[in-house]
């Protein structure tokens, strides 16, 4: 009999505010330890929190993007526990009254079907600092730069049924929050972290006991961690054992997981409403104002790319999912005047080069305008696709624009029919045996042999000859 997997996600998303959730200290990543923590973040006595309105607006934007109810009144509470990187001895978070109520997100399954994943709620909270346990000779280092950074925690219903669905949900979520501009989505810097709740059961039976694997910071780790945990739970149950409710840690480097604490060891966090902060009242006018100024989301953008640019649904989906890529594509499409050609280049040459050099598209050395200039020379047949790749290389390595490269390297395509005819003659004269063989060959073999003469002509011209004209002249001379 088979097993059914049940997965729910808790996603911690770092908001792209300039300052912290309750203080004016900066949130930039990578500063020297403890240089971005003010008196409030350090929890000096007598300091008080002041809510960052930008964070509230970002949370509302998220809620609107997943069709969620925005609660008119939400309440910050104190979650009490002691830890050196938690300066106040409590985390200020939301529990009973979160800002974002139930919503949903539709994901696309491998077979193309859509599936609706319900979102239970999303709430605002502050991040803790970082404890560093290495390089301190048996001591721990505390860096409070991250303390107080605004997060939203997004909690799904247990609607996901396998690791692939979980990853599809995570990717879709990533696409949405980066499109909204409410997070940089940079998982390597911890901007998006996943806790996965996993259980297994026989189909039709009640939910099994779940475990929570915390702090997964890549799609791949999430996929691996879920697969491992599902296999472990099934193993335990099939051996007649019992799954224990526990919190687990997954180590991506070794692809292994271990139990961190059991339910019995769980803290009593003694939540209660934070008396230093008033309930957050969200006016309907603010919601409408934010709704009216929501940026375009990936699904809408995909549909527009199909309708407006004539792209295939697949290509449109590829380009629309990642906002910087979509912006790059649209700029290149405009600069070139041919969206389909621009799409091919962005998904082809550009994507391959960015990938192999691990470069973000925002840092692409070839600007959309430069790419557009290059594509225009293909479209007006100044250069062939093959030559265009050479020009692209030069642009990637710092050349200013396509025309200058073509001019400097003499890459302009030969389209003069006299010159091409001379070239064809030269090739035929140099290869008399192949010409004879070709003419003697049956028709079905001729096509393949034809390629030899094209290759020779291209080689002799340095690739610059107009391929359509070459083909026509060669065919006329060989067959005529």
């Amino acid at each position: 009999m088979s097993w059914e997997t049940v997965i729910g996600l808790e996603v911690h998303l770092q908001l792209a505010t300039r300052s912290k959730l309750f203080s004016g200290a900066a949130t930039a990543f990578g500063a020297a330890p403890n240089t971005q923590a003010c008196a409030i973040d350090l929890a000096l006595p007598g300091t008080l929190p002041l809510l960052n309105k930008a964070a509230v607006e970002m949370a509302i934007r998220f809620g609107l993007a997943v069709d969620a109810a925005i609660n008119p009144v939400s309440v910050f509470e104190r979650k009490n526990y002691f830890y050196p990187d938690l300066p106040k001895g409590y985390q200020t978070t939301q529990l009973a009254h979160p800002i974002v109520g139930p919503g949903h997100l539709d994901i696309e399954l491998a077979d193309g079907r859509e599936k609706r994943i319900r979102i239970h709620h999303a709430h605002l909270e502050e991040d803790a600092g970082k404890s560093l346990h290495e390089d301190f000779h048996g001591l721990s280092g505390i860096d409070l730069n991250r303390a107080g950074t605004p997060l939203i925690e997004i909690v799904t219903e247990p609607d996901l049924r396998n690791a692939e669905e979980a990853v599809a949900f995570a990717k879709k979520l990533h696409a949405i929050v980066t499109a909204l501009g409410i997070s940089d989505g940079d998982m390597s810097q911890g901007s998006m972290r996943f806790d996965v709740n996993v259980s297994v059961r026989r189909p039709g039976e009640p939910l099994g006991t779940r475990t929570e694997t915390k702090n997964l910071n890549s799609f791949r780790f999430m996929e691996r961690a879920i697969a491992k945990e599902v296999a472990r739970q099934i193993g335990v149950l099939e051996d007649g054992g019992r799954v224990l409710q526990e919190t687990r840690l997954y180590d991506g480097d070794t692809d292994s997981a271990r139990a961190m604490r059991s339910k019995e060891e769980a803290n009593d966090y003694r939540y209660f409403p934070c008396p230093d902060l008033l309930p957050v009242h969200v006016a309907p006018a603010l919601i409408e104002q934010l709704r009216a100024s929501q940026p375009e989301l990936p699904d809408a953008r995909r549909a527009r790319f199909v309708a407006e640019h004539g792209l295939s649904d697949y290509d449109a989906g590829q380009l629309a999912a990642d906002t910087p890529t979509a912006h790059y594509f649209e700029a290149a499409a405009k600069a070139s005047g041919d969206p389909k050609l621009a799409a091919n280049w962005v998904m082809g040459e550009i994507a391959a080069r960015l990938n192999s050099t691990e470069t973000a598209i925002a840092a692409c050395p070839v600007s959309p305008a430069q790419l557009g200039g290059l594509l225009q020379r293909i479209l007006d047949r100044t250069i062939s696709n093959a030559i265009a790749r050479q020009v692209f290389d030069a642009l990637w390595n710092g050349a200013s624009d396509a025309d200058a490269v073509i001019e400097a390297k003499g890459l302009k395509q030969v389209s003069d029919s006299g010159a091409i005819a001379a070239l064809v003659d030269q090739v035929l004269v140099a290869n008399p045996k192949q010409v004879a063989d070709y003419r003697a060959a049956p028709d079905d073999k001729k096509a393949k042999m034809f390629g030899f003469f094209v290759g020779q002509a291209m080689k002799a011209s340095g690739g610059k000859v107009n391929p359509q004209q070459l083909n026509a002249l060669l065919a006329a001379r060989l067959n005529g």
């Binding site: 106040k88 001895g89 209660f272 008396p275 230093d276």
Partner: protein, 488 residues
Amino acid sequence: MHDLTLAQMCHGLARRDFSSAELTRHLLERIGAANPRYNAFITMASETALAQAAAADRRRAAGDAPALCGLPIAHKDIFCTRGLRTSCGSRMLDNFVPPYDATVVERCAAAGAVVLGKTNMDEFAMGSSNETSYYGPVKNPWATDCVPGGSSGGSAAALAARLVPGATASDTGGSIRQPAALCGVTGLKPTYGRVSRWGMIAFASSLDQAGPMARTAEDVALLLQVMAGFDERDSTCLDRPVPNYAATLEQPLAGLRIGVPEEYFGAGLHPGTERAVREALAEFERQGARLVAISLPHSGLAVPAYYVIAPAEASANLSRFDGVRYGHRCADPVDLRDLYMRSREEGFGDEVKRRILIGTYCLSAGYYDAYYNKAQQVRRLIRQDFLDAFANVDLILGPTCPNPAFAFGAKGGDPVAMYLEDIYTIAANLAGLPALSVPCGLVDAKPVGLQIIGNYFDEARMLNAAHRYQLATGWHQLAPPALTETAA
């Protein structure tokens, strides 16, 4: 000079009868001589005080004299003062020098005040007798074997002993009014949200409120004028205009409706205190006020509700004192747990630990509804009692405390008996209402206080009533006998 009120000093400075430097030097000398007897100050700021006084004198000479220009005051040691140790009466913060000023401190400084030092208090403002201070108890200038009240006992005693003419204080369950009553001075707890809590070390955030103490209602009005007002750094501070309190001080009281709650005159009230309060009520009647018998039916629930809510909030507020970033840290911790346990064990006194334990218990899984939620419900009932009462009356009057100052150690073994000293003061904190205490008589040769509770943001009317009462009576002018004997 030290017998002058703030208002009188202000006139003296304006007439150039004396300079702020002279006044400051005189009071510093007086404190130097008397503080060993009263223990009213934890930390002195003599050097900076003299510099501030000199600056104030120059400012006045240049024709720029803001409200408190050159007037000496003291801050309760619960207010953070930049560069000046702020202990909150605790060993935990014995070494803590804040890098910033509380809003109250900032506003007083901007108004030209001269800060003589930081006054003693119950540890983290948890106490009604000043016996919980790490720096030893303050002695009541009226009877040095008696408590001055708490937690603002240092500010109250310093005022009574004529060491300072005005002081800041804070009130979570009576910490301004009760010591004001026991030391024979005037103290006001403003409406919750009237004065910023920024930089005031938190005890119970939803109840804490900063306020002024002085020897007259007129002086209290002067200080409140400076302290009150919106501060965006405190989200619970309300953005409402601050009226001119001095402008309405002298208004006649004819037609004033005064509510007299039957629950404030029941069992446990010292007959001497009751007599003094009844006489004060008669004086208001003489001035044209009308007494209205009222009921605040949930008064009896105030103390139990308070001793759930205040410790619950305190248990979280005091978690930051963990020995990691500042404050007391135990010697040679072997690991994190040891660091936490011993730093807090050594840094906090017994009463603070008791309240952290109570609060932690009340918030724990399985007890939250029975205690914290229930207490919040009671809080709403108490607030409703007052709203109902204020539909028919302008002010509510009664005793500030049941008894005059008690002897040191008298209630040491019984925390609940101590908590009951705040039986009349706590409700105003739970409801967020303003309340003040004025001296209204002597019982056993020790002062007792009349409490005036007002409607939200009605401090002007309360100060008006208190001032008119003080114009007609002399209780606020009485000095502790020991003082006049010394002077003679």
